[in-house]
């Protein structure tokens, strides 16, 4: 057989593989969507009458320590803290950890809240970089500011955990905007099953385009520029059809770093946030699963399908690339570190289902997609392109993609309806379609590049550079 013959055979085989791969992947998506549909409908009914106000006034809700890791946030940090103080909740404390900022972050806080040094002695449950000073405020007894040497976001959060007083802590990004009732919404699973719930998260929304005043979103609108709009569709899909579904299957792998509540005891037991990853949110949740399943403890990690916070997403391709690169590297790294969970029945649905899904589809998916395009072009050049196959592949891939986006928009429409206008809805649908022509492929490329970076730098993983906080936003783990 000639080399063209071999190549043709190989291309055909690959084509079949890609086709099967896509069918399996999209069937999983479809299934997740159906699970989510049921869950969201049930949830919406449940909150038909919300009694958050009474819950807030209850002295019986658990107190929470809110941790804010801040690095060079001088512009926003005071507003962030102010808006946090307005959150509806019974008893909570705010711990801002200034992670070796080089700007006037600390100064601004000291001035705005009349902070003074406290000689506070505490237990270092998790080792961190040196804490330089602890500040308190006479006027705001529930505010604590920790000044420490730079150690990255994880390290800052760990320092916050060490100094926190309450059994639950909530980690948020310094630049995310918290909904007034966010703590109440997400603490509910902890109250319902106090002995089992170890972590819970909620829906993260995109603030680009919205009108923000005094640290709260006053008018919800879609962004003007296309790149953020694509991400709105992406987030809707990821949160409404992805995480809701995974949570229902007891195998939620990510709680967004922008907002998540955890039980301190378990997090301290697993040694806190890992310093050797750039997606500490994903990493912590996976490690919690690992820890709890290994010890055969009964536990729940829950996603509450209720909006909790707003985050800003990249407006330019360059920043988007950087963000996705970071997320994907974090994903690869976390999966690699916990590879023993893969298809291991000991880890239940997480090991048998969620983990393989993340491995084959989230991690390797972009590879297959890009390879698919390359092979198509290759076969075109070789003159062995099977037009039927090409169209079938393209038709299914793109239409399925559109279907999933539209399905997510439908879920939003029947549940929260945060984008009220007809124009917004039309925009969302149009961008849900357009997304499949360019944006999606670009994202796949970003991720392949990230994977490549990991392979090249494999040996230096141990001391992976810690990026700043600025782009440490939103929903790690792309699609779902």
């Amino acid at each position: 057989m000639s080399w063209v013959g071999w190549l043709t055979e190989a291309v055909v085989a690959f084509n079949v593989f890609v086709l099967v791969y896509f069918l399996v992947l999209n069937s999983i998506y479809l299934w997740l969507f159906l699970v989510s549909l049921v869950e969201v409908l049930r949830f919406v009914r449940r909150t038909f009458f919300s009694d958050y106000r009474q819950i807030m006034q209850s002295e019986m809700t658990w107190p929470i320590s809110v941790l804010v890791a801040a690095h060079d946030e001088e512009k926003t940090i005071v507003d962030t803290v102010r808006s946090l103080m307005m959150v509806n909740y019974g008893e909570f404390e705010i711990i801002v950890v200034n992670d070796g900022s080089t700007d006037r972050t600390l100064r601004r806080l000291v001035e705005a809240f009349d902070l003074r040094r406290m000689d506070r002695v505490y237990k270092r449950s998790i080792p961190t970089e040196a804490v330089r000073a602890v500040y308190g405020s006479l006027a705001h007894a529930n505010l604590l500011v920790v000044d420490k040497e730079k150690g990255g976001k994880s390290d800052a959060l760990n320092a916050g955990i060490n100094l926190s007083r309450y059994p639950l802590f909530c980690s948020i990004d310094a630049d995310s905007i918290i909904e007034d009732n966010a703590l109440l919404r997400v603490v509910k699973p902890f109250m319902e099953r106090p002995n089992e719930t170890v972590a819970a998260g909620g829906i993260v929304r995109i603030v680009n385009g919205c009108e923000v005043r005094d640290g709260r979103v006053v008018k919800i609108e879609l962004p003007d520029r296309p790149i953020p709009i694509f991400q709105v569709v992406e987030y809707l899909r990821a949160f409404l059809t992805g995480r809701v579904g995974w949570s229902a299957l007891q195998s939620l792998m990510i709680i967004s770093g922008a907002f998540g509540i955890y039980r301190k005891q378990e997090v301290v037991e697993v040694g806190g946030y890992s310093r050797y990853t750039e997606t500490e949110d994903l990493e912590l949740v996976v490690r919690l699963h690992e820890y709890m399943r290994t010890r055969k403890r009964k536990y729940r990690i829950v996603f509450v399908p209720d909006p909790v916070c707003w985050t800003e997403v990249p407006e330019s391709l360059k920043v988007l690339n950087r963000q996705r690169n970071r997320w994907h590297r974090g994903l690869v790294r976390t999966l690699w570190d916990n590879k023993r969970m893969m298809l291991n029945p000991r880890y239940g649905t997480v090991g048998m289902f969620a983990f393989p899904y993340f491995f084959f589809f989230e991690m390797l998916g972009p590879f297959v997609e890009v390879a698919g395009y390359v092979v198509v072009i290759l076969s075109l050049l070789l003159g062995i392109l099977n037009l039927e196959f090409f169209l079938l592949f393209l038709g299914i891939a793109i239409l399925y993609g559109i279907f999933l986006s539209i399905a997510a928009i439908l879920l939003e429409e029947i549940s929260f309806r945060r984008y009220p206008g007809w124009l917004d809805l039309t925009k969302l649908v149009v961008f849900g379609i357009l997304e499949n022509f360019g944006y999606r492929q670009l994202n796949a490329l970003f991720k392949v590049k990230a994977f490549w970076d990991v392979l090249l730098r494999r040996r230096s993983w141990g001391k992976m550079e810690r990026s700043g906080f600025r782009e440490a936003r939103g929903a790690a783990g792309g699609q779902t």
């Binding site: 009914r45 449940r46 038909f48 009458f49 009694d51 009474q54 819950i55 006034q57 209850s58 002295e59 019986m60 809700t61 003074r116 040094r117 406290m118 000689d119 506070r120 002695v121 237990k123 000073a133 602890v134 308190g136 006479l138 007894a141 007083r165 509910k188 109250m191 319902e192 099953r193 106090p194 039927e388 169209l391 079938l392 038709g395 299914i396 239409l399 399925y400 559109i402 279907f403 539209i406 399905a407 928009i409 439908l410 429409e413 029947i414 007809w422 809805l425 649908v429």
Partner: protein, 412 residues
């Protein structure tokens, strides 16, 4: 192959079209319905409100005679919205209108619906309407299979009020689901004095969770009636019961419960000691300075923190005791005293006095600062030494800290 291709594309495309159609139709229908309701509401609301403010017997004339089918939800919305926001005569009138127009009957039937959310909704609405005649039916709903319905029913009973509602709610505290227990406890706490007797009487028959909830409710109601009874609970074998009883005594704040709380500082279980320490502060029991100082040496952080806070709340005598504790042999006690003297602003106030001319006040201040220096807790003092606006204070601090005074400057 072509057929497969065509069918696949058609099928997926079809699903996509259907979905889009669903979204559009859903939105269009909802929006036009809402628009119509808003218009209708604008006409009906002023008439209904005007009736509520007045004293005409029937609401019917103001909605144009009999209730029309198409107005049913609009009128219901108006009546419920306002009934929730007022009390007294007007709420009664709105509630009566809801009964008069047949809503109450409808909701009582709704309590037996097979859809749980309908049952929950009906219960909630009966509560808002203050439908007294639905009490029996609501009590039955306290045993519903779905927790959400049970909570709504409890809430409704709480809103309707009266003794007839209290007893079944107290019974319902036995609820296995913690969330509903909390909600029911809140509702009972909101009903205040009707509840106290009933809780104390029923307590022996309750299970553990219900007992804990009962103690929490008494803490929230803050009636003086159960104080002696709560003190008896301090010798309960269950540590959580003892802790909750301490909490309740602190919350009620009767000065008489001081000695009982001081005894609880000796409890073998730290959560009890912690809550007792806190309670003493809440009732400002000045005689407890000595035992609180002892509690500053506790091995548990919460006990120490609460004891320090309570010493501060007790006032000058407590602050003095905190000062003295700076020399304590116990390192935990020292740290706690340092922190509390800083958090209360006492250290700053004393440092302020360093700028005064010589005298007893200044001497006392210097004495305090020296103590801080001796045990090495100088973070705040250093900061003050650098930033204090008064040069005299900076100098005095520098001397006490044993460092050269920063030249010039002042607060940046």
């Amino acid at each position: 192959m072509y057929a497969v291709l065509a069918y696949s594309v058609l099928a997926i495309g079809g699903v996509f079209l259907v979905l889009t159609g669903l979204i559009v139709a859903n939105k269009a229908w909802r929006e036009s319905r809402d628009a119509w309701r808003r218009t209708r509401r604008r006409t009906l609301e002023p008439a209904i409100l005007s009736w509520a403010h007045g004293d005409a017997p029937s609401v019917r004339p103001s909605i144009g005679g009999a209730l029309k089918r198409r107005d049913r939800l609009v009128v219901e919305g108006i009546l419920l919205d306002h009934a929730q926001r007022v009390r007294g005569v007007e709420r009664e009138r709105l509630g009566r209108a809801l009964d008069d127009l047949g809503y109450v009957d409808r909701w009582i039937r709704g309590l037996s619906s097979w859809r749980w959310w309908q049952r929950a909704e009906s219960a909630e609405k009966l509560g808002i309407a203050g439908a007294f005649r639905a009490i029996d039916r609501l009590v039955r709903s306290l045993a519903d299979d779905v927790p959400e319905v049970r909570i709504r029913a409890a809430k409704a009973l709480g809103a309707v009020g009266g003794r007839a509602a209290v007893a079944p709610l107290v019974q319902a505290l036995r609820e296995p689901n913690r969330w509903s227990t909390i909600r029911i406890a809140d509702i009972l706490a909101g009903m205040r004095h009707d509840v106290v007797r009933e809780l104390m009487d029923e307590y022996p028959k309750m299970n553990r969770d219900a007992r804990l909830a009962a103690l929490d409710i008494l803490a929230k109601i803050r009636s003086l009636e159960p104080v002696a009874w709560l003190e008896e609970r301090l010798s309960d074998p269950d540590r959580d019961v003892r802790a909750r009883a301490c909490h309740a005594l602190g919350a009620i704040g009767s000065p008489d419960s001081g000695p009982a709380l001081v005894r609880a500082l000796e409890d073998p279980e730290w959560p009890v000691r912690a809550v007792a320490a806190k309670g003493i502060g809440r009732i400002r029991h000045a005689a407890a300075v000595q035992p609180l100082c002892a509690a500053l040496r506790d091995r548990e952080w919460w006990v120490r923190a609460n004891a320090a806070e309570s010493l501060r709340l007790i006032g000058p005598k407590g602050i003095e005791a905190l000062d003295r504790m700076l020399d304590d042999r116990d390192v935990y006690a020292r740290h706690q005293a340092v922190l509390m003297l800083q958090e209360s602003g006492e250290l700053d106030r004393q440092v302020e006095l360093l700028g005064r001319p010589d005298g007893p006040e200044r001497e006392a201040a210097e004495f305090l600062v020296r103590r801080f220096v001796r045990i090495g807790q100088v973070g705040r003092l250093r900061e003050l030494q650098e930033t204090h606006r008064d040069a005299k204070v900076r100098e005095a601090l520098a001397a006490l800290l044993g460092i050269a005074a920063a030249p010039g400057g002042g607060a940046p």
